[in-house]
């Protein structure tokens, strides 16, 4: 397992960083937030990213993907994390991985290929009000009918669910709300009869929606037959590593900005970066970011190589990045002082994102619990 970037990956990193700095800088993220409403991201930009191959990075070429891996995916997401670009990478990955891992060839051709090309946008409607972090808690029901299924239920926090034209919804065909088995995944057009959506406004200005399914009827071939606890885990683990890449970019950016501030800002006639207490804290933040980077690289490579301990490494990365991102951004705001508390300065954006990201796909405690379980103790 190689833990530094290959030359090809360095190139992707450079390209992504340049592209995002130019077309999706943080000032644009702020502007999209201030406008509120609408997509919350650039539909054209997303299309352009798809054309660059970034949307399909870890997917087979035969389906329109780039046939690369999560090592490359996290590189792009790190760049996106630096500018907090709101484009729907996570939503896209969640739904695309679901199609890849649970769908059949016809389903993939019909829904996955257009998504990777950027001509269709997907979202995965999984979480419900009581889900918290459980990857098996689903109360939404799919009842078999003569022609297919009828779906009833309510989903919350569906990432970029407001923007998707096609939803993949997790609905229970059997079992209690928290049974590991009995969860089906169903492809539902977002404009299907009985689907209603409300855009949510999040503290980190990431796009999300409440989605209600009332007697939504789908045909039998809308069901992805391969859904199982294992495939659902595989889907979430991949989205989690992608999120960790984004978090890494965010904490690196927050650290870099803070170091810049410490180098420039003067108080009591000296630059505040010369205060030893702040130096030491900045050095500790640096260490946290460096360790986070290692965990992200490790997890991405493990997924790509199908390593036996991949799930553990994913949980390591998420637990580590969650705490590091929170610590680094808390320290950042403290070191900025009063201006760090103002909306006018950008640093607060990262603190908000840190907290929200840490509560997405399982928080640090949840992933430690998972690690311990996977380690057999």
């Amino acid at each position: 397992m190689q833990l530094i970037l290959t030359e090809d990956q360095e190139l992707i990193a450079k390209t992504a960083a340049d592209f995002l700095a130019e077309k999706a800088p943080l000032s644009r993220t702020r502007k999209l937030r201030d406008e509120s409403g609408g997509l919350g991201y650039g539909a054209d930009l997303w299309k352009e990213m798809a054309e660059l191959g970034w949307v399909g990075i870890p997917f087979p070429e035969s389906l329109g993907g780039s046939d690369l891996g999560y090592a490359e995916m996290v590189v792009v997401l790190e760049a996106a994390g630096r500018t907090l670009a709101p484009e729907p990478f996570l939503a896209s990955l969640l739904a695309s991985e679901a199609l890849l891992r649970c769908g059949d060839g016809a389903q993939q051709a019909r829904w996955l290929t257009p998504a990777l090309a950027g001509t269709s946008t997907l979202a995965l409607a999984f979480d419900e009000a009581s889900t918290r972090f459980r990857r098996c808690f689903v109360e939404t029901r799919a009842v078999a009918t003569a022609e297919g299924f009828r779906i009833d239920g309510e989903k919350v926090g569906v990432l970029d669910g407001h923007a998707a034209d096609t939803l993949i919804v997790a609905a229970r065909t059997a079992g209690d709300a928290d049974a590991p088995d009995g969860i089906g995944l169903f492809v539902v057009p977002a404009d299907a009869v009985g689907v209603s959506r409300q855009r949510q406004t999040r503290v980190d200005s990431r796009g999300a929606a409440l989605v209600r399914f009332e007697g939504v009827v789908v045909e039998a071939d809308a069901m992805l037959a391969g859904a199982s606890p294992e495939t659902i885990d595989a889907v979430f683990d991949r989205a989690t590593v992608a999120l960790c890449g984004e978090m890494l970019g965010g904490m690196q950016q927050a650290l870099d900005m803070t170091l810049g501030y410490l180098r420039e800002r003067e108080q009591f006639g000296v630059r505040i970066g010369s205060f030893q207490a702040l130096k030491h804290r900045a050095a500790r933040a640096f260490i946290e970011v460096e360790l986070s980077r290692s965990t992200v690289m490790g997890a991405a490579r493990a997924l790509d190589e199908g390593a036996e301990n991949a799930a553990k490494l994913v949980s390591l990365a998420k637990a580590h990045c969650s705490e590091a991102y929170i610590n680094v951004t808390n320290e950042a705001v403290q070191m900025y002082g009063g201006v760090g508390m103002t909306d006018e300065y950008d640093i607060g954006f990262f603190m908000k994102r840190a907290r929200a990201a840490s509560s997405t796909f399982g928080d640090a405690a949840w992933h430690r619990d998972r690690w311990a379980g996977l380690s057999g103790y």
Binding site: D127, T131, R132, F133, V156, G157, Q198, R199, Q200, T201, R202, V203, D204, S205, R206, A208, L210, E266, Q267, F268, F275, A277, L278, I326, N330, V333, Q334, G337, G338, V339, G340, M341, T342, D343, E344, G348, M351, K352, R355, A356, S359, T360, D363, A365, D369
Partner: protein
């Protein structure tokens, strides 16, 4: 003592007879209090009547001399008044920086003309004051005042900017530090000045925080003309005035933390346990997640340890020990505790703490998120934790510079 008991009886009778019955037994929060001033809109007629009656009696500033609109009471009498108001659960008739900050400053440093001009209006709630200390370039270095004051005959011409001027957009006058001599040691060229905010060239802009709206403003001075007669104490002696006022402010902050003003909403232990039960499930009465339960217990215990420390400090004060720089301890402990509690609440709420507004989140959930963000400022405002640690290291622990 007999006199005091007579005063108590008189006061009680007077309060019972005169206080609007609609106010009795009402709970009081600072946000709902009467701040007064030209732009003030009373919440209801009772509030307006209550201010008029109390001001008439001199009871809005009970210990100030009667000639300036105060009540002329002794400290003991003022305490009795507070006790009797508290017994009837009557809110203060008037609050604000006029009563707590600039008033006492003028009583100590002001000219007779300044006292006669400003104190009665403060007592009657006619003029609302804000404080203009901080500047964009200064931060913790309060003496780094850059707002210029250039002498022009009997006036100063003021140009510059203040930040963190709380409620400046609702105030009438501002007391501010200005740089009257740029050529001396920074503490020695500062003047403490009273400025009418209706003067041409004063502009106020509210500050949006990461947690949303705030009472803070930026206040800009563009060649504002202010009479030299508005200088408090001497020209270039403003730092002395400011320090006295800062000491006063710091003890108020410590009081606020001591009085549960620190970890506010969060001060009830059952709140955290209740949230943990609600969001992470229960096993009987127990919080189902044992790791979370441990964190809740830790936060609750730290809260109690802090409460005991405040109580111990009060007992020491009662026993006649002078409060010293340990108020820095309270500032650090209270604000970090408040942050920890909100960090924990946000962790407990999990995906329900990512809301900013609108559908999918309960009002309480949105409050937790906003308050969590706001709490991050606690360790910055009123003297950063870093400054407080410096103070402890130097003044309490005697560590060398």
């Amino acid at each position: 003592m007999a006199d005091l008991e007579n005063f108590r009886a008189d006061t009680r009778n007077w309060l019972e007879a005169n206080a609007p019955s609609g106010l009795k037994g009402s709970s009081f929060s600072e946000l709902e209090g009467t701040w007064g001033g030209r732009k003030w809109v009373f919440k209801n007629a009772d509030q307006e009547a209550w201010l008029a009656i109390m001001a008439e009696k001199g009871f809005t500033a009970p210990t100030w001399p009667t000639e300036y609109g105060g009540g002329g009471l002794s400290a003991d009498e003022a305490k009795v008044l507070r006790q009797e108001m508290s017994a009837l659960r009557l809110p203060p008739a008037l609050i604000g920086f006029g009563l707590t900050m600039i008033g006492p400053t003028l009583l100590r440093f002001g000219t007779e003309a300044q006292k006669l001009e400003h104190l009665p209006k403060i007592c009657r709630g006619e003029i609302r004051w804000c404080q203009g200390y901080s500047e964009p370039g200064a931060g913790s270095d309060l003496a780094a005042v850059a707002t210029r004051a250039e002498r022009d005959g009997d006036d100063f011409i003021i140009s510059g900017q203040k930040v963190w001027t709380s409620y400046a957009d609702e105030c009438d006058w501002i007391f501010a530090l200005v740089r009257s001599d740029p050529d001396v040691k920074k503490q020695e060229g500062i003047t403490f000045l009273l400025i009418d905010m209706d003067s041409p060239g004063v502009r106020v802009k509210p500050i949006l925080l990461i947690s949303g709206k705030s009472p803070f403003c930026e206040t800009f001075f563009d060649a504002v003309r202010v009479p030299v007669a508005n200088v408090v104490s001497e020209i270039n002696a403003g730092w002395t005035v400011a320090k006295a006022l800062l000491g006063h402010e710091r003890s108020m902050i410590a009081d606020a933390f001591g009085g549960g003003g620190g970890p506010k909403k969060a001060s009830s232990g059952s709140l955290l346990a209740g949230l943990a039960r609600k969001y992470a499930g229960t096993e009987g009465e127990r919080v189902a997640d044992p790791v979370l339960r441990d964190q809740v217990a830790r936060a609750e215990m730290e809260t109690q340890a802090f409460g005991l420390t405040v109580a111990r400090s009060r007992d020491a004060a009662k026993a006649g020990h002078q409060p010293g720089p340990e108020s820095s301890l309270f500032k650090i402990a209270a604000t970090e505790l408040n942050q920890k509690r909100y960090e924990l609440m946000v962790q407990i709420l999990g995906p329900q703490a990512v809301g900013w507004e609108g559908p999918g989140f309960e009002e309480d959930e949105l409050d937790v998120t906003r308050e969590w963000l706001r709490s991050r400022g606690n360790t910055i405002e009123g003297g950063t934790s870093e400054v407080q640690l410096n103070i402890i290291a130097k003044r309490v622990l005697g560590l060398p510079d």
